[in-house]
């Protein structure tokens, strides 16, 4: 799905066709107007589209797609642009389709516990609207105040509570989808387990390659009555990792289970003064939520398990203010690191937790080898590691070194049985690493899925799934016994 050179497009004709189906002022064509759309949360990749379309409803989305389909014009859908993998990076000769103005909550049913929303609705806005009914939308990616639900569906976003409450795929029941030719289809339903292929599950995490989501129905959960968090300090990251395994082995699924290493702790303490001990090699945050009885019981057990696992010190929140303060450090980890290095590069591999010690030791080795520091923040419960590589974009060669360092971490994640991306997505950023994780046959199967939905390959071309050609050029192609297939399929 790598982009061919943009076809010669008659942009004047395209603009006038688009202007006809869009409200006044909803088509941006000048460089100044389009500048805010040149990148998403991964700002190292920037590109200007041919134009930006800002439809306000589903009909306009479909109309834009029909025009682009007829003209063979690529379309990149964008929510609020908070993605971290360049999934919303514009296509040079294409239309950037912003869903930001489709921002209405269409229905909220407190009895059935569902909300039907447009794709541009912010993640947190759903929980805010549901709060009156003591309900909430569970997935809480760190960008939840800004990110859109449509983007969450595209990326299968997680959050710090997903070990217990699941990812986007577990919390979305239905969607309306505009296909590349503008046809609107409905996937999933409020009724559980529809017969047939689970296209709703396939859509979640498909990074805008299969269609443009125009409406999403999410599940709402009862808000837990109470939450408390334990902060535990350890003399080594391995010990902290053993603490995590011991909690799970004791039959406890904490609402959140996070780890930070010494460098991350120092950065955070300097920034938000969360009260983390600077002499700890690693800290764990383990949260329990539920009824007061349940939380009291679970916290007691978590404390006992962590003590037995060698925690050198522990602190448990006594009230909501203290809980929020303890979390404030973890939640500010990325900006805190941003204060002590000119630039940082955030990685997102997931590993089986038993390899944590080995992986962190090797990352420390790479850090020495490349001469770049690296802080580690870890969704410890589900094995999702966020190494933050420090670099200076103004220093020649530093970015390349950071990327090489990052790729080494991704290869390591795959080698220990994990994945190159736990929650940020592949986008443009990790497209080459896909060649390491998947064999040619699997990549071809992905291309075939893409072609089943979008035969012309107009939606978000060049993202998420690399062409076999690209993998071959990378020297990373994994082919079993020379097998390739679907030679008939176009490669985008």
């Amino acid at each position: 799905m790598n982009a061919p050179p943009p076809p010669p497009i008659d942009s004047t004709a395209l603009f006038s066709a688009l202007a006809e189906v869009l409200p006044k002022g909803a088509l941006l064509t000048t460089v100044e107007q389009m500048r805010p759309y040149e990148c998403d949360g991964l700002s190292m990749y920037r590109r200007l589209p041919l134009c930006v379309a800002l439809p306000v409803d589903e009909q306009q989305v479909a109309a834009v797609l029909r025009i682009c389909d007829a003209g063979g014009v690529p379309v990149v859908a964008r929510g609020h642009g908070t993605g971290l993998a360049g999934g919303a990076l514009p296509e040079q000769g294409g239309v950037l389709l912003s869903l930001a103005r489709l921002n209405r909550i269409l229905a909220l049913d407190p009895v059935a516990r569902t909300a039907r929303v447009q794709p541009g609705v912010r993640n947190l806005a759903i929980s805010e609207a549901a709060a009156a009914h003591a309900l909430y939308y569970a997935p809480d990616p760190s960008s939840q105040i800004a990110c859109s639900i449509g983007g969450n569906v595209a990326e299968n976003s997680g959050g710090v509570h997903c070990l217990k409450y699941g990812l986007t795929v577990h919390n979305v029941v239905a969607a309306r989808l505009a296909l590349a030719d503008g046809q609107i289809i409905e996937l999933g339903s409020e009724a559980p387990d529809a017969p047939g292929y689970d296209l709703m599950a396939l859509l979640v995490g498909s990074e805008g390659l299969l269609g443009v989501v125009t409406e999403v129905t999410v599940k709402l959960l009862p808000r837990p009555q109470l939450a408390r968090v334990v902060m535990a300090c350890f003399g080594s990251v391995e010990k902290a990792g053993q603490g995590v395994a011991a909690i799970i082995a004791a039959g406890i699924i904490p609402a959140g289970l996070e780890m930070m290493d010494k460098l991350a702790i120092a950065a955070v303490e300097d920034f938000v003064k969360a009260g983390y001990p600077l002499d700890a090699e690693a800290i764990l945050l383990a949260e329990s939520d539920g009824t007061p009885e349940e939380v009291a019981n679970e916290i007691e057990r978590i404390e006992a398990v962590l003590k037995a696992s060698g925690a050198t010190a522990m602190r448990t929140s006594k009230d909501e203010a203290e809980r929020l303060r303890l979390w404030a450090g973890r939640k500010a980890a990325f900006p805190a690191v941003g204060r002590i290095t000119p630039d940082y590069y955030c990685m997102d591999g997931t590993i089986p937790r038993r390899h944590l010690g080995e992986v962190l030791r090797k990352i420390a080795g790479y850090s020495d080898e490349f001469g770049l520091r690296c802080a580690n923040v870890f969704h410890a419960g589900d094995g999702n590691l966020h190494p933050l590589i420090f670099y200076d974009a103004n220093k020649p060669g530093d970015l390349e070194k950071a990327e090489a360092f990052g790729n080494r971490i991704l290869d390591l994640s795959v080698a220990v049985g994990g994945t190159i991306t736990g929650e940020h997505g592949v986008g443009v950023e990790k497209i080459d690493a896909m060649c390491t994780q998947f064999h040619a046959l699997e990549l071809e199967a992905f291309h075939a899925v893409k072609a089943a939905f979008d035969p012309k390959g107009l939606l978000n071309p060049g993202k998420a799934v690399p062409s076999l050609h690209r993998c071959a050029e990378m020297g990373r192609m994994h082919i079993h016994a020379g097998q390739t297939r679907h030679p008939e399929l176009p490669r985008f």
Partner: protein, 352 residues
């Protein structure tokens, strides 16, 4: 085990060359479900065994021919379980069939379905190629979730050879309370309680009795029981097993049996000549009735759902077909995984 894979690949390649259908079969416990099995049988029962299981990772990798009872016993030894409670069907159900049928049990509305616990699936497609989708870790957004696509696909996209599941601790406390209430009140109660922070694990109504199951942390279950009241159900384990395994007396006898999935808030569907067992907190309705298939399907559709002909129903109506554009996507996906259309032909939809 590699022998099995190689033999299965060879058979699929031969079948593809001659366009002869193959009928994939594990324990045969779900022969009744879906369209009539056609073609030569390809038994997966020999491809059994746990591949990897580390309780502290909450991940189990298992070969597809492994009986679910063996999986359950292995997990139970470490205090863990498959939270979606798939039917074991007399011990014959296997991992492959569990995934292919996508069937979940009584806890499904509160813990999720089969597809929610899938982390990875290895399969042999209709060309005889081995493909590995997903993985063994809990968070993984690389590539399309083609492994979740296998749940409920009735084996039409590939022969499943190996599955990785997310598993969870078995609830320490598991209690059931009974309430004498009419169906309409039961549906209202099920929905009201599901909106409250309670450790619900089952909600079934039939014959004027609502059974509510609470499972989880003993302190949470105890507090919830004190709030809810009701009578304790003495043989609760047997009751829920009979619902999960469809062996309750409601399921007995020759009257046609339909499974309807509807909005959980849909009204009671019982009527003259229609007996209804309400499960899944209102989301799943079992009907015994002799209504024509299109009437049952229309009834389900009018409540936001769909109907599956379970037993005693013409198997052409096993699964309610989707809309035409969605069916077109089904055909294109089927053609890409199984171009000759040889795998479990007609099990999901008559012409797929």
């Amino acid at each position: 085990m590699t022998d099995f894979i190689e033999q299965a690949q060879a058979r699929i390649r031969a079948a593809q060359a001659s366009a002869a259908p193959l009928c994939i079969r594990g324990g045969g416990s779900k022969d009744f479900l879906g369209g009539e099995p056609v073609g030569e049988r390809l038994d997966t029962g020999g491809h059994a065994g746990i591949v990897a299981y580390d309780p502290s990772e909450l991940v189990l990798t298992v070969r597809a021919g492994t009986p679910l009872t063996e999986v359950a016993a292995t997990l139970a030894a470490s205090g863990q379980c498959l939270p979606f409670e798939p039917p074991l069907f007399g011990g014959r159900a296997t991992v492959g069939g569990c995934v292919a049928s996508g069937l979940s049990g009584p806890r499904r509305p509160y813990t999720g379905a089969v597809r929610d616990y899938l982390l990875g699936v290895s399969l042999i497609d209709g060309r005889g190629d081995c493909l590995k989708f997903g993985g063994q870790v809990m968070k993984n957004v690389a590539g399309f979730d083609t492994f979740r696509l296998q749940a409920g696909a009735m084996g039409t996209l590939g022969l499943i050879t190996e599955v990785s599941f997310k598993v969870l601790p078995t609830p320490e406390a598991d209690e059931t309370r009974v309430f004498e209430v009419p169906a309409a009140d039961a549906i209202a109660t099920m929905n009201r309680l599901a909106g409250q922070p309670l450790p619900l694990a089952g909600a079934v109504h039939h014959g004027g009795r609502l059974r509510l199951r609470l499972a989880g942390n003993p302190a949470a279950v105890g507090a919830a029981l004190a709030r809810l009241g009701g009578e304790a159900l003495p043989d609760a384990g047997a009751f829920w097993a009979a619902i999960r395994e469809q062996t309750d007396s409601f399921f007995a006898g020759p009257a046609p049996l339909w499974r309807l999935a509807v909005r959980p808030t849909a009204p009671a569907l019982a009527a003259d000549g229609v007996d209804e067992l309400i499960d899944w907190g209102g989301g799943q309705r079992w009907l015994r009735c002799a209504l024509p298939a299109d009437a049952v399907q229309a009834l389900a559709a009018s409540h936001g759902g769909h109907a599956s002909g379970w037993r005693g129903v013409d198997c052409r109506h096993a699964f309610q077909p989707p809309t035409a554009p969605v069916m077109a996507l089904h055909r294109r996906l089927k053609a890409s995984f199984d171009p000759a259309g040889i795998l479990n032909r007609g099990r999901l939809y008559p012409d797929l």
